[in-house]
C-alpha cells in the first residue's frame, strides 16, 4: 500500500467562510452607500474612496515587505479599512486627505501592532481621528452640497429662502452651510442664539423654528434617503441599512452591537436631546439615530471583529457604552458628532470588558 493521504488532526470538514470572503462581503455591503454618494455628490466620491482603498493596500504591502512577512493585501482587510476611512471624509475634501488618512490607519493603526487581528482600535477610525486632529478645517468645513438639496436637509422653503434670509442672515448661513448635527449643536449654544437677532426673544424663536424644521418628518426623509450634507458614508440611512441587512443575513455581523448601540442613542436622545423650550418631540430620537455617522458606525465600525469584545454579554456592554458616549459627546461635547471617539474609546476598553465577561464553562459551578 503506497498510498499516502493527507494526514491532519480533526476536524476534516470546514465551513466555507474565510477571512477573505468576510472582508470582501463587507466591502460589497458598503457599495450601496457609495452609489448614493456618487449620485448626490458626484464622481469625486468614488475617486476619494478608491484613493483611500488603494493607499491602504499599498501601505500594507510595503510594510509587510519591510517586515519580511507574507503579503496579504488580497484578503481585503486593507481595502476595507481604506474604504471605511474614505467614508469618514466629505466629498469636498482634497485628494490627499484619504491617501494620508488610509496610510496612517494601516501603518500606525494596524501594522505596528502586528497586522490583522492585533490592532487595539479600529484603524479606519484612528485614521479619521488623525485627520481631524491634523486638518480640522478640511474635515469639518467645505462640505459638498448634495444634488438638489441643502446641507442641513431642511426642506421647508418658507424657513430657508424667505424668512430666514430677511430675518436673520446668520441663521440662513448656518442652515445652508453645515450638516444637520452641526446645526443642532450650534443652536444649543445660547450666545449664538441670542446673536441671531437684535431682539433676544426673537432669536430664541428663530432657533426653535429651525430646530423644529431640522427634526420634522421631511427633514428625516432627507436623512433617510440622503439629501443632506455629510461624510461619504453618512450619505443615506437607507443605503447603510441595505448593506447591513446583507451582512446580518450572511451572518457576518451580529445583531447585538448595532441594536444596543442604536437603541441606547435612541432612548437617551429622547430624554436629553430636546432644545431648551422646544419641548419633547417623538421624532427627535429618529433625528439622532439617522444623522451623522451613527448608522455607519453601528453597523460597520462597532462590529469590527478585532476591536470588540468576544463574549456575548461583553458586546452588549460595549454597544451601550458606545451609545452613551455618542449622545454625551453630541449634546455636551465640543464636537457635533461623537460616533468616532465613542467607538475608539470603547475599543480601548475591550480587553477589560472581555476579562470581566468570560463565560462560565458548561457544567461549571461558580466558586
Amino acid at each position: 500500500m503506497q498510498d499516502k493521504y493527507i494526514v491532519s488532526p480533526a476536524p476534516h470538514f470546514h465551513d466555507k467562510t474565510t477571512t477573505k470572503n468576510v472582508m470582501w462581503n463587507v466591502v460589497l455591503a458598503l457599495i450601496p452607500a457609495l452609489i448614493f454618494a456618487v449620485y448626490y455628490w458626484g464622481i469625486k466620491s468614488l475617486l476619494l474612496t478608491l484613493l483611500g482603498a488603494v493607499s491602504a493596500m499599498v501601505t500594507e504591502a510595503l510594510i509587510q515587505k519591510l517586515r519580511k512577512v507574507p503579503i496579504t493585501v488580497s484578503d481585503g482587510s486593507a481595502f476595507l479599512t481604506g474604504m471605511l476611512l474614505a467614508y469618514n471624509i466629505n466629498a469636498g475634501a482634497p485628494w490627499w486627505i484619504p491617501v494620508l488618512g488610509a496610510a496612517f490607519a494601516i501603518a500606525i493603526g494596524k501594522q505596528v501592532f502586528g497586522g490583522l487581528g492585533n490592532n487595539p482600535v479600529n484603524p479606519a477610525l484612528l485614521g479619521r481621528a488623525f485627520l481631524m486632529a491634523s486638518w480640522p478645517t478640511i474635515m469639518t468645513a467645505g462640505w459638498a452640497k448634495p444634488k438638489g438639496g441643502i446641507l442641513s436637509g431642511i426642506t421647508d422653503p418658507n424657513v430657508i429662502a424667505v424668512n430666514l434670509q430677511s430675518l436673520s442672515p446668520k441663521a440662513y448661513d448656518l442652515v445652508t452651510g453645515a450638516t444637520p448635527l452641526k446645526v443642532a449643536q450650534t443652536l444649543r449654544d445660547s450666545s449664538f442664539v441670542s446673536s441671531l437677532s437684535a431682539n433676544a426673544g426673537q432669536g430664541v424663536e428663530v432657533a426653535n423654528r429651525i430646530f423644529t424644521n431640522l427634526t420634522d418628518l421631511s427633514a428625516l426623509k432627507n436623512l433617510f434617503w440622503g439629501n443632506i450634507g455629510g461624510c461619504l458614508g453618512e450619505v443615506s440611512v437607507f443605503a447603510i441599512l441595505l448593506g447591513a441587512a446583507y451582512l446580518l443575513y450572511k451572518n457576518i455581523i451580529e445583531w447585538r452591537i448595532p441594536l444596543f448601540y442604536i437603541g441606547t442613542v435612541f432612548v437617551l436622545s429622547f430624554f436629553l436631546a430636546p432644545l431648551k423650550g422646544s419641548g419633547f418631540s417623538p421624532l427627535l430620537p429618529f433625528f439622532h439615530i439617522f444623522s451623522g455617522g451613527l448608522m455607519l458606525g453601528a453597523f460597520f465600525m462597532a462590529t469590527d471583529y478585532t476591536t470588540t469584545p468576544i463574549t456575548k454579554s461583553g458586546r452588549i456592554i460595549f454597544a451601550i457604552g458606545c451609545g452613551i458616549l455618542t449622545v454625551v459627546i453630541r449634546l455636551y461635547g465640543g464636537y457635533p458628532e461623537g460616533v468616532c471617539y465613542s467607538i475608539l474609546f470603547m475599543n480601548v476598553l475591550t480587553p477589560l470588558i472581555d476579562k470581566f465577561t468570560m463565560p462560565k464553562a458548561f457544567g461549571r459551578v461558580k466558586k
Binding site: 500500500m1 491532519s8 480533526a10 484578503d75 502586528g114 451580529e254 456575548k312 464553562a361 457544567g363
Partner: protein, 437 residues
C-alpha cells in the same frame, strides 16, 4: 414543537445521502486480521495466545489488564502469525495480534438463552465483560465500567445514543432500522443492570424513519421515550445529549453518573444484547464506508480487525483520487496515512474525501471574530485557549477552558482564519498534563 437541543454547535452538511438508504450488508470474511490490543480507553489488553496457536472465531485471545480495560477476541478462525505493531484506526500503529484465516470461520460455541432477561445481574455483567464490549460510538470506553456505578450514585435514566451527528455516518441509523428490536432489548438489559426507571433513545431529526421505527417499538413501553433532537453538531456528544434530553448538566470534569444518567450508543446496546443472550463476543460491527470517491458506499457488517483496504475493495473500489481517508466521521475522526490499518471496535465509519475537500487551507491571523466562542457547546473561549497555549500561559489556558474541552471541533469548523484550534488545544492538554507530572 421546538426540537430539543443544546446551546451552541454548528450545522455542517450531513452528507448522509451516500449510504443512508443502503441496507446492512455482510462484508466477506477477511483472509487476515490484525486485532489491536488497545481499541479502547484504559490499559491495553494482554495476549493469551502465542504465535503459531490455532484460534476459533470468537475465541478470547487477549485479557483485560485491570478494571478499566478490555479483553479481545479473534474475529476469524485460523492461526496466530504475529504479535507485532500494526497500523491502527487512529492513524498510528500499535501492538496487534495478527491472525491468518483458514477460510472455515469455525466459531466457538454460542448459547441461545431464552430467558436472558431473567439472568442474575452478576451473570449479565460477567457476559458483558467477557464479550469485550466498549462504547461503539468512537471513544471506546469499556462498557462494564459504565455499568458499575458506585453504590452511592443511583442511576435513574439510561439514554441510548442514536444521534449520529457526525456527517456521512449512517451505521447507527441502519442498525436502528434493521435491528431496532434487539437494540430495545439491549436498552432494557442496561436499565435492569442499573435498576434505572427511565429509558430514552435520542435520535437526530434527520432520521425520521428510525424515529418512527423506534416509536412504534416502544409504543407499549411507558418508561421508554424516543426523543427527537434538532439537527446540530455535536448533538451526540454525551454531555450535550444528556442536556438536550433531560436538561441536566454534567458537572465540568465529572461523569454523567454523578447526575444519575448513563449513556450508551445504540450499537453498544445491540452488542450487549448479543453478549447476554448468545454469549457472543464483540467481533463484528457495522461500519459505513462512504465518501464521494467510493464507487458503491455501503453499511457493512464487518469483522473487527479487517483491513480498511478490503472494505473499500468490497465497495467497488474508488472512482477518483483519494485526498484523505478518515476513520470515524469528518468532525472527530482520525486521518489515516493509508488504508493498511485495520478497523477496531470504535470504527463506525471509513470516510474517503476527494482531493478538493481534503485540501488544507493556510492558517491566518485570528480576527477575534468570536465565531468559536459562539459555537462552543461547552461555553468555552476557544480562541483564548489557543493564544494562551501559543504563548505558553498555562493559567490562562486552563481558566479559558483547556481541560473542559472535549475536542468536538466545532470551533475549528467555523474559524474563518482556518486556525486548527483543536490541534493547539490538544497540544496544550498534552503539554500541561506532562507539566503536572
Amino acid at each position: 414543537m421546538r426540537l430539543k437541543t443544546f446551546p451552541g454547535g454548528v450545522h455542517p452538511p450531513d452528507e448522509k445521502k451516500y449510504s443512508a438508504s443502503m441496507p446492512i450488508t455482510e462484508a466477506p470474511i477477511p483472509q487476515k486480521v490484525a486485532i489491536h490490543l488497545s481499541q479502547h480507553i484504559g490499559s491495553p489488553s494482554k495476549p493469551i495466545v502465542a504465535v503459531g496457536d490455532e484460534v476459533l472465531t470468537g475465541q478470547k485471545i487477549a485479557e483485560a489488564t485491570g478494571f478499566v480495560s478490555l479483553c479481545q477476541h479473534s474475529s476469524i478462525s485460523g492461526k496466530v502469525t504475529a504479535i507485532d505493531r500494526y497500523p491502527n484506526a487512529t492513524g498510528s500503529s500499535s501492538l496487534a495480534i495478527q491472525i491468518t484465516g483458514d477460510g472455515a470461520d469455525k466459531w466457538i460455541e454460542l448459547v441461545d438463552e431464552q430467558n436472558f432477561m431473567d439472568l442474575p445481574l452478576e451473570e449479565m455483567k460477567k457476559r458483558i465483560g467477557d464479550a469485550g464490549i466498549c462504547g461503539m460510538g468512537g471513544a471506546g470506553f469499556p462498557t462494564l465500567v459504565k455499568l458499575s456505578p458506585p453504590a452511592d450514585k443511583p442511576i435513574d435514566t439510561v439514554i441510548l445514543n442514536g444521534v449520529e451527528c457526525e456527517p456521512y455516518l449512517t451505521s447507527d441509523h441502519r442498525l436502528m432500522l434493521e435491528k431496532g428490536e434487539e437494540i430495545l432489548q439491549g436498552l432494557k438489559l442496561i436499565m435492569k443492570i442499573l435498576s434505572a426507571k427511565k429509558g430514552m433513545i435520542g435520535i437526530e431529526a434527520n432520521k425520521p424513519d428510525a424515529i418512527e421505527k423506534m416509536r412504534l417499538l416502544t409504543k407499549n413501553e411507558p418508561n421508554i421515550e424516543v426523543v427527537t433532537l434538532k439537527l446540530r453538531y455535536p448533538q451526540g456528544a454525551e454531555k450535550q445529549l444528556i442536556y438536550a434530553a433531560t436538561k441536566r448538566k454534567v458537572p465540568a470534569g465529572g461523569l454523567p453518573l454523578e447526575i444519575g444518567v448513563v449513556v450508551q450508543n445504540v450499537g453498544t446496546a445491540f452488542a450487549i444484547y448479543e453478549a447476554i443472550r448468545y454469549k457472543k463476543p464483540l467481533i463484528q460491527r457495522i461500519i459505513t464506508v462512504t465518501g464521494s470517491p467510493v464507487v458503491k458506499p455501503q453499511n457493512l457488517l464487518a469483522r473487527i480487525g479487517t483491513p480498511f483496504s478490503e472494505l473499500v475493495d468490497f465497495c467497488g473500489g474508488t472512482k477518483e483520487e483519494i485526498g484523505k481517508a478518515i476513520c470515524g466521521g469528518p468532525m472527530m475522526g482520525f486521518a489515516l496515512p493509508s488504508l493498511a490499518a485495520t478497523m477496531g471496535k470504535g470504527s463506525g465509519g471509513l470516510v474517503l474525501l476527494d482531493k478538493e475537500t481534503a485540501r488544507l487551507n493556510e492558517e491566518g491571523n485570528c480576527l477575534r471574530c468570536a465565531r468559536c466562542v459562539d459555537v462552543c457547546p461547552l461555553n468555552l473561549v476557544p480562541c483564548m485557549i489557543v493564544s494562551a497555549v501559543k504563548y505558553d500561559n498555562q493559567k490562562l489556558a486552563v481558566s479559558s477552558g483547556l481541560n473542559d474541552c472535549m475536542k468536538c471541533g466545532a470551533c475549528a469548523y467555523v474559524c474563518p482564519a482556518q486556525i486548527r484550534l483543536v490541534q493547539y488545544i490538544d497540544n496544550g492538554k498534552i503539554r500541561y498534563a506532562e507539566a503536572k507530572k
